[in-house]
Symmetry: C2
Subunit: 198 residues, 2 copies
DNA sequence: TGTACATCAGTGAACGCGCGTTCACTGATGTAC
DNA sequence: TGTACATCAGTGAACGCGCGTTCACTGATGTAC
């Protein structure tokens, strides 16, 4: 699994990897692959499972790092900074997950989407816990929370394409995430159910 | 190029297609491929170029279809309905473009992103033309417009995975796009530059 | 109007190669009695 | 404590196959004079 991540991080698409390539990277004979996975699809699903665990732990750390933040108005920016640091430290994971969000088999795509929904629910819980948007309907709250998750997801792709040395471009991306997130919360706080029936 | 789109629409990832597969689909001998493209990367870039043209035409139609809409509050919903209809009518195009948004070579990814930026600018022009958000700074306006484009982009992936027969699930996606877009505009209309320095 | 040549998409044989997958195997580690 | 067996990751040879790419070719269409 680590070998697959390394190859994906090296610029190849997961769907174009071969079993022999992966076992070569591991330093093991091709037939050994079958001791662990039925085929590449099986490996893909196992990777999503494994990486989901890691990602959840990582998100927990992001939330804890902000649990008793001094200045609430900087909470968004600090969370974004912390999270993007984690993205850099785990490139392979995020390259794979963003690739497969649009690329893999139907099963893999849906597994990743359900993971995004999990984070959406976590975010909804946090928003309720701190009574940030007390008047919002459940449906709208979920749409807003998912939007925040999606803002970050889309930005990760561009972030991974932007070398760490291009500080100003990275700052542009960071700023956009913060702005778009603030926009979402601001919109949500002004939402009146009756005005805007969908 | 059409053959490649058909294969991608059939569930394969573009990066896993072979030259022989494509020429087989076209009904032509493998060597003919080289009369038109240097390699698969070349074909990928040519596809993005070609599909960008089609997509721009398609977006023009969406905008024209709403140019003299009777009820401005339903403008978002009608545009979304019209656009999603186009997505269904051109599955191959959108499967390819969403795949390559996260998956292809760096060059292809950036070509698609620059296309999204083009649509963002178009949207900014429209917003200015109708004086919808007159007090917003250029930067914030762009962040909001890009957010709307991103909302639709992310939804397309899920939309393409949801069979046309699953009407209720499709309605959920459609509703979410509308809600998230309304949220974005609502947030943008309440934005005060001084309060929220990033 | 007719001839000579250039252009160009497609042909078909051939190449060496890496691929997925099978099979019977080895040898280390864990478990039962 | 010692022996017998089960489990399990890795081995290495072998297979048939589809792959990308090369080459010299054909035959239709367009262009110059």
């Amino acid at each position: 699994m680590l070998a697959a991540l390394q190859l994906v991080e090296g610029g190849q698409h997961f769907s174009s990897l071969s079993i022999r390539e992966i076992t070569r990277q591991t330093g093991v004979v091709p037939t050994s692959f079958y001791r662990h996975f039925r085929d590449m699809d099986d490996l893909g699903l196992a990777l999503v499972d494994e990486l989901s665990m890691i990602l959840r732990q990582l998100m927990r750390e992001v939330r804890e790092s902000q649990a008793n933040a001094a200045k609430p108005e900087q909470l968004i920016r600090h969370s974004v900074d912390f999270f993007m640091q984690q993205v850099d430290a785990n490139r392979g994971i995020f390259v794979f997950l963003t690739q497969e969000l649009t690329g893999g088999s139907v099963a893999v795509r849906q597994a990743i989407r359900s993971e995004l929904n999990f984070f959406t629910n976590e975010l909804v819980l946090d928003i309720n816990r701190y009574r940030i948007l007390p008047d919002l309907s459940r449906e709208m709250l979920e749409a807003a929370a998912l939007l925040v998750i999606q803002i970050v997801s889309m930005a990760i792709v561009e972030w991974l394409d932007t070398a760490q040395t291009l500080a100003s471009q990275r700052e542009t991306i960071r700023q956009r995430i913060v702005r778009q997130t603030q926009l979402t919360f601001l919109g949500a706080s002004h939402w009146k159910e009756k005005e805007k029936t969908v």
